[in-house]
């Protein structure tokens, strides 16, 4: 587990992934995969904007059925 300080400059998911990638390039690349779904506040994200206190989940490729 690693903590990350997110400043005011991070306003969207792309910037968040870029920030994560700075600390861990492999993780940043993995989170950029098309098959990774993003959930913001327990809803599938329809936009990129994020704000303070949002809960963001990056989900690995799904496989139901």
């Amino acid at each position: 587990m690693r903590e990350l300080q997110i400043g005011d400059s991070v306003r969207n998911l792309r910037e968040l992934v870029d920030l994560i990638a700075k600390g861990d390039e492999r993780l940043g690349a993995a989170l950029s995969e098309k098959s990774v779904q993003t959930i913001i506040n327990e809803r599938v994200s329809t936009g990129e904007a994020i704000s303070d206190s949002d809960e963001i989940a990056f989900l690995p490729p799904v496989s139901g059925g």
Partner: protein
């Protein structure tokens, strides 16, 4: 109706119960997905499925609404297992009723494509060689893309 269950179910009984409640629908299509013991690899001894409680259910509810907007169908039944399963056990069961068969066939196909590629479930195979998380096949994504292509055509 959507049911995500850690317990096994009897597809025959579920189909029979579904049939009792479809009114005057002229067609019922059902699909049953079962755990396969894949012979191409080390035999699958078990399967483990996870979901995202609350969020998965909400997404499936939206899926059901979408299917009913696309086709003239009644409320479908979607049962999806989570937890530990063994080869031969049912994983997923979809039932769709409609006045006409084409709507029922297509809606069931659509629901399954979505369940394979977009619904929030994660599947792990346990084999004699170890464990691995499963991802959809390229064909699964192709199948799901058919519905988007159809939207563009219309």
């Amino acid at each position: 109706m959507i049911r995500i269950s850690p317990s096994s179910f009897d597809p025959g009984k579920e189909l029979s119960a579904f049939e009792q409640n479809v009114g005057d629908a002229g067609a019922i299509v059902s699909f049953l997905g079962r755990v396969r013991a894949d012979e191409r690899k080390a035999g699958v001894t078990a399967l483990y499925l996870e979901h995202y409680p609350g969020v998965t259910e909400r997404m499936l509810g939206a899926l059901e609404t979408e299917a009913r907007g696309r086709w003239a169908i009644d409320e479908p039944l979607i049962i999806h297992r989570v937890g530990d399963m063994t080869p031969g056990e049912p994983i997923v069961f979809v039932c769709v009723s409609a006045r006409h068969r084409r709507d029922a066939f297509e809606a069931a196909d659509f629901l399954m494509d979505y369940l394979k590629t977009k619904a929030l479930f994660w599947k792990k195979e346990i084999t004699s060689d170890g464990e691995r998380w499963i991802e959809p096949r390229k064909q699964d994504y192709k199948d799901a893309a058919r519905w988007d292509e159809r939207d563009k055509d219309n």
